[in-house]
Symmetry: C2
Subunit: 217 residues, 2 copies
Amino acid sequence: MGVNITTPGPSCHSSHCLNSSSSLSFFTTPTMEKANVMEAKDGTLAVASAFTGYQEAVQDRDHKFLSKAVEEAYKGVECGDGGPFGAVVVHNDEIVVSCHNMVLRDTDPTAHAEVTAIREACKKMNQIELSDCEIYTSCEPCPMCFGAIHLSRIKRLVYGAKAEAAIAIGFDDFIADALRGTGFYQKSHLEIKKADGNEAVIAEQVFEKTKAKFTMY
Amino acid sequence: MGVNITTPGPSCHSSHCLNSSSSLSFFTTPTMEKANVMEAKDGTLAVASAFTGYQEAVQDRDHKFLSKAVEEAYKGVECGDGGPFGAVVVHNDEIVVSCHNMVLRDTDPTAHAEVTAIREACKKMNQIELSDCEIYTSCEPCPMCFGAIHLSRIKRLVYGAKAEAAIAIGFDDFIADALRGTGFYQKSHLEIKKADGNEAVIAEQVFEKTKAKFTMY
């Protein structure tokens, strides 16, 4: 029995799924070993294609940064800074900034996590465009934030919760308009990825778990 | 010969069109005199309906604030702060803030005139929503700015130039997406007015007149 490696389940996102057993000496290059080989529960092995290995590595990487964005969402509510939304800007596999919604703290309705992160990243990198960067957001960006992402020329967006998870606890249904509207298909320079499986669940749980801790604005 | 008072021309926007002659003693209340009576060039008089008088007053008022936004657009380029865009937030007929695009000065792609004005107005009024305010913008707001206007709950938007005037000198055609998309019709709490006639021309001229003075970003 092999392992389903084309669509790895939620528990396979982190590195503990990767096998480094000495019995795999025929795949000794670290890259190959890390990317392509997984051990099934019954001890049998399956070797994935190089493409699937790449997908796995991307999944691990995305999981790491998306988890950070989700963490920020919780942190923002704990601090009383604003709503449960987080955003992380990544450049060359390194986090440039990790921010959360600051609407209440800054008395600023534009201080969503994404806008704040873009603003801070631009200041830190001293440039008005982020074409070499990616943004990870705990929730689907609202039209304002999607506009900011577009204007900053960020090349890749990975988001966790669908807008409906925020709308379900009382946020404006306007959130859902950005990626569903006609404008979406015109933004061909931006890769957009929605988390699925457990990652999406974790990101969506942010809303139910925080709704009693902040005042809706 | 009467005066065309139902569709006043551009030259009638300012208060010099209003007549306060003593021969109009049968309309002595200041409100009536100011709002309803105009003198034609040949000395004949025409009395407008109260509704048209109201429209005139709104036109004068809108002209004043829109002119300020256009002035800001020129000012921003002269200062080297950013692109030729201005925005004014008005509360109870008073200007709360008058801002222009600050993208270059702040190294911040989100610092459009509208976002800057909303941010500044909220700080000045110490509140995260501007439901009693109007915003006057020299140009049709981009999706990010329209999102910010929506989120701030501003009740009325008056804009001068259509997006195409900015696109014509090289700005991203994304600007035109906000008010043309499907989302527009869902925003029933916001009144949106586009300037016409000479006011639109003046606002659109901003782009041609400034394009040599700043670097496109």
